[in-house]
Assembly symmetry: C2
Homo-oligomer: 188 residues x 2
């Protein structure tokens, strides 16, 4: 490999590394494949039966349009209690993060944005510290990783988690890859 090829490879590697954060925000885009069962959207009615640990509002490109998206994250209550007690997520913990389309209204009190019902997509993270729940490109760094577009529950567009997920989660490596600061209910 000559110097020019080396530089090109470096540039390419940087582009791949930056891609999830700079281009795609929070949506991975590999070809849809049926995910491992453990990574699929939970069959229970988690919106009513689990605990919502926090909501994150994303500002629109034109900021005076308000929030373009609200994300909400759910966990089973027992796993939350164990996290609060032990400081770590027990194996098998499932986190579901929904990306929700918003509506924005101008009220006399100011501009508000709220989830209008449609789901952009959903992330699933499954804690697997010992690598016993799965293997392959969607497992690693102590978790299983999958993203589903819209209301899809089984066919994921996550290929290799290192390409599709780690870009955004790298900054949270010190907190077991989870952005705990975003979630008031994870405060210990």
């Amino acid at each position: 490999m000559n110097l020019m090829q080396g530089s090109l490879l470096m540039a390419l590697a940087s582009a791949v590394l930056l891609w999830p954060q700079t281009v795609s925000a929070q949506v991975t885009n590999s070809s849809p494949v049926t995910a491992e069962a453990v990574l699929q959207i939970p069959k229970v009615d988690y919106r009513k039966q689990w605990v919502q640990i926090g909501s994150v509002s994303s500002l629109a490109e034109k900021s005076d349009e308000g929030s373009k998206q609200i994300d909400t994250t759910y966990i089973e209550r027992e796993n939350l209690e164990r996290y609060l007690r032990d400081g770590k997520f027990p194996d098998g913990t499932v986190l579901v993060k929904e990306l929700l389309v918003t509506k924005t209204e101008q009220l006399t009190t100011g501009k508000i944005s709220y989830a209008a019902g449609d789901v952009i997509g959903r992330f699933v993270l499954v804690k697997d510290s010992e690598g016993k729940l799965g293997s392959g490109p969607r497992f690693g760094d102590g978790w299983g990783w999958a993203f589903y577009k819209g209301n899809e529950t089984t066919k994921t567009v996550t290929g290799d988690f290192k390409v599709d997920c780690v870009g955004c989660h790298q900054a949270a490596r010190g907190d077991d890859m989870v952005h705990v600061r975003l979630y008031p209910l994870l405060k210990r």
Copy 2:
């Protein structure tokens, strides 16, 4: 009463009527008094044990500062199920709405805001269609009404609900005074 006094009274009445929407946003400001027990902040850990029905993000005055506040509303699961089945809140239903201080961060993917932990205040609404749960200035229009600043749980700053609350809830009179459109989980 002469014409001038009449006009003055009308202007005053309008000012009082508009006050909750134009000046105070979502915080009532009467002198603190101990609220009726049924209106006090629930003693259970509703953040983990109840269902969160939705989050509302309020844009900062300078819109490029992101969201200044995120509000989240909780209901007991059984009362939510009955609302979804019957289309009305059963008597005794408690809604708790928290107003949360946000932090805003510029990420490479855009600007996000999230609840940073501090509570600006909390609203409590208690369904009382037959007026059996309480009486006086904090009861009427089918509900009991109270607001608590910060982490206060018993001393409310709500005086007369018609002055302190109805301004913002008037627009939802057709939905039993609740802004159901803000809450995806109330969709029937």
